[in-house]
Amino acid sequence: MVVWVGGPARVRVEDGAAASVYGVSRSRTERLVNLVICLLSTRRFLTAAQIAATVPGYEHDPDDAREHEAFQRKFERDKAELRELGVPLETGTASVFDVEPGYRIARREYALPDIPLKPDEAAAVGIAARLWQHAGLAAAASSGLAKLRAAGVDVDPQATLGLEPMVTVDPAFAPLTAAARDRREVRFDYRVPDRDAPDGRRLQPWGVVCWRGRWYVVGHDLDRDSTRCFRLSRVVGPVRVTGAAGGYQPPVGVDLISHVARWSGPVERAGRATVLVAPGRAAGLRRWAVEITAGSEADRLVLPYADACSLARHLVGYGPDVQVLDPPEVREAVIQRLKEIATRHEALAAAR
């Protein structure tokens, strides 16, 4: 077969050597398209030999050992490429008398089911597809969208929802979601800043959670024999899959979010602290005061708080602009911190 290839030189090339603008063999793509069409059209499993005799591009002399070996390598590569693309290649034999395995593609496995998206739904999918800031997932989202378009869905590229999330993920996201989906055990190194070195963890991941813009994996920690969640940004190096697929069963109806939110959820501010603030200062405190009484020398603020220690920490930041009146535990904590800070910085400041 002879094909014509466009391009500035417009060279006439023989089958097998054709190169297109993509730098990829055009005949290879053509052969793969024909292979897909052929295997979709057959109900019987076709053996490699039958495929070679049918699909253009596989012609060879099966009695010539070298030619046959070259064909087998080519066919293996082609099958791998189809599987990589997600083409559901079935293997089996056409009858009990057949020894050689055959191949076919079941149409119902191949074809995207009908997704009747209304225009506003299609627009939402179009917006969602461009949120990924991560190259691999961005590519997956846009190839997914291309399939929806191919199924006849029209996507308005101008649509907006007034607010666009920028979706970023840590490198551990892809391997951990895949492991959770396939229920496979993993190992990874995990670095917590207040420890000096990362340590190895063995986990049966149940799922991945985004909570307040950070990603976590929740699962059963095999070494600690209990439920744990890990922040993906603290996973160091590769996530290694160590278990077979379906190796465990996550608890039924597990609420992944609750495991993460329990550790870093919102807190109720039941306490009330009273502070004096220099006029025009500490704008940050004024914003969350529940009560402000203006005075000539200072303003009096009532601040809601949950934890006396972290409130003290926060108030120390304002230095002489803020003076705590009540409660005593906060006042004492602030004074204690100020003393230590003054001492620590005495030498350095004096050396100047």
Partner: protein, 332 residues
């Protein structure tokens, strides 16, 4: 995977999509299809040429994919059995479903109903593929964001009351909004700020008041949305660099702030980071507490010491009569 085989896989994927795509749109203009598919017209014509020689075994005139051209328009007249696109791969289903969940969870997003309906349909079509348990929760003040979004969509310049953490001050400014974003779980309005005469990001939870002005928002031609793929705060190299010696309990700093250098000195770490403002650094260091010492600049160490000493002096002196407004009220 090698770059070459990636390109080849991409092209094969595109070709398998192309037939059903055209089948669903008889008589589509080639230019429109190319734009839609993100390829050049020339690439699309090459793809069509290739498909034209593909088909069912037999490969005779009735077996090959066939198409009719009418000027710049094309219609598939025979599809050789590839009338549907390939189903979604696990990665594609996951990428779409997670992004849709993000949209559905984003506080204050418009038309959430459509997002949720779309998500349900994608999940339904993808079946087990999106069983990958990924959950998203983005708490936020939906009411406030919604109000802001309505103001931004109104297309007018906005007067806002804004709290700037770096300087611990609340200011009034007029902004011309560009877009609203959700980054790292927080909502922002990106806008031209007339006061700073630059594009700025305003955190929704620090916008304390909004007034729509009568004039339309006019974004100057030099104003462009910023690239936020590396995060919201990308410290410029000309900002002041501060160096701190921190104890074990304060190592979290290295996760929350972009640090230029982190050195381990046994138990203690020495970290360097750029700050927008030294007065912010002073509040930051004071707030961190006794396990942190300023190494450099000496000016900051001095400010921290002076602030601590002045505050201690104030605690050492009884509150002067009349200084506490509430106490003053009682006395009257």
């Amino acid at each position: 995977m090698k770059a070459g085989s990636r390109t080849s896989a991409d092209r094969l994927a595109r070709l398998l999509n192309l037939v059903p795509y055209l089948l669903a749109r008889p008589g589509i203009e080639i230019a429109e299809a190319a734009g839609d598919l993100g390829v050049t017209e020339r690439q699309l014509r090459e793809d069509l040429e290739l498909l034209w020689v593909c088909g069912l075994p037999g490969y005779g005139p009735g077996d090959l994919i066939d198409m009719a051209f009418d000027g710049d328009r094309v219609t598939i007249t025979y599809d050789a059995g590839i009338d549907r696109p390939l189903r979604l791969t696990p990665d594609e289903a996951l990428a779409l479903a997670v992004a849709l969940r993000m949209l559905a969870e984003a506080p204050g997003v418009a038309n959430r109903d459509a997002v949720e309906r779309a998500l349900a349909k994608i999940e339904d079509a993808a079946g087990d593929l999106v069983a990958a348990p990924v959950e998203v929760r983005l708490p936020g003040d939906a009411g406030r964001v919604e109000q802001l979004r309505a103001a931004v969509e109104g297309g007018r310049a906005l007067r806002i009351t804004y709290y700037t953490l770096a300087r611990d001050e609340t200011t009034e400014r007029v902004i011309d909004p560009l877009r609203m974003l959700l980054v790292g779980g927080r909502t922002y309005v990106e806008a031209w700020c007339r006061r700073a005469e630059a594009v700025r990001l305003f955190r929704a939870d620090r916008i304390d008041a909004v007034t729509e002005l009568d004039e339309p928002a006019v974004v100057p031609p030099q104003a462009h949305p910023q690239d936020l793929s590396e995060g919201v705060f990308r410290p410029a190299p000309d900002l002041p660099l501060i160096t701190l010696r921190i104890g074990r309990g304060e190592r979290w700093i290295t996760e929350y702030y972009p640090c230029e250098r982190v050195e381990s000195d046994g138990e203690q770490w020495v970290v360097s980071l750029r700050v927008t403002d030294l007065s912010w650094a002073r509040r930051f260091v004071l707030g961190l507490g006794p396990d942190v010492t300023v190494v450099a600049p000496a000016e900051l160490a001095e400010q921290v010491r002076d602030a601590a000493v002045a505050a201690l002096d104030a605690y050492a002196t009884p509150v002067p009569p009349g200084a506490d407004p509430a106490a003053a009220t009682v006395r009257q």
